[in-house]
Assembly symmetry: C2
Homo-oligomer: 146 residues x 2
């Protein structure tokens, strides 16, 4: 569990006024770096905040992403996922179990150079898909029996 002050400082750093709900959501993201969906965040917090509305989770996560406090991942074509790790890294999604993992990323400068002047790039994300270690065997046997 992150220190409340740390969470509040993070919110303020990105120009987000802290509220009970916003603190809880940001805190959850900072302590659960597994790229949760809106639904996961909502379900996880509604026990401790029974009055929490899913709309609030949606709007808060959108606000946090707009302010740059978290990343909004579109790697999953079903649900948007959120990530409090805003340092440069790539994402990997297992096509079998759907889990999303972090990947270290050396550099994307090659892209920036080649497009200098044509586009103003404000954000970039590298999405990789395939099979994670614990799924690659299962995925193979499903393919065989298909």
């Amino acid at each position: 569990m992150k220190n409340q002050h740390e969470v509040i400082a993070k919110l303020e750093q990105f120009g987000v006024k802290p509220s009970l709900q916003r603190i809880a959501i940001m805190d959850y993201l900072m302590n659960n770096l597994v790229h949760p969906t809106v639904d996961t965040v909502f379900s996880s917090l509604s026990a401790s905040i029974p009055t929490l509305s899913k709309t609030t989770v949606y709007s808060t996560l959108k606000l946090l992403a707009q302010q740059g406090a978290v990343l909004e991942l579109n790697i999953d074509d079903k649900n948007v996922r959120y990530d409090a790790n805003i340092s440069r890294h790539a994402h990997f999604r297992c096509k079998f179990c759907g889990s999303v993992h972090d990947l270290p990323l050396a550099s994307l400068d090659a892209v920036a150079v080649e497009t200098a002047g044509k586009f103003v790039i404000t954000e970039s994300q590298l999405y990789c898909k395939g099979y994670c270690d614990s799924c690659k065997d299962k995925a193979e046997s499903v393919a065989r029996s298909a």
Copy 2:
């Protein structure tokens, strides 16, 4: 307009049995490399194929992507987009007008090396977002007046 034989050859190369609809859809993608959505493909073809069903467009595009004949882009959080250019390249989406453009891409090998053994990566896409040349001024003035 691409040669019919070229389109059919492409389909067969990827194990997709050619049909009137499949040929038309693949042909459209090969001649419209602007990353169209399902809806755009459907609207564009329904004039020449009045009986075309949107379900067919959905299932055909999914099939083409599964077989590797086209790329399925999730860069747009509203609609899936499709791309007949399957060579290695990145994508740029303008956050103002929504247009999606190609970006040349030198290498993503750095990622592959760092994850060797941990994951089986079967596909990777680099998504960049920002403002395209014709929107960056408009986006700025909107931001000012907000």
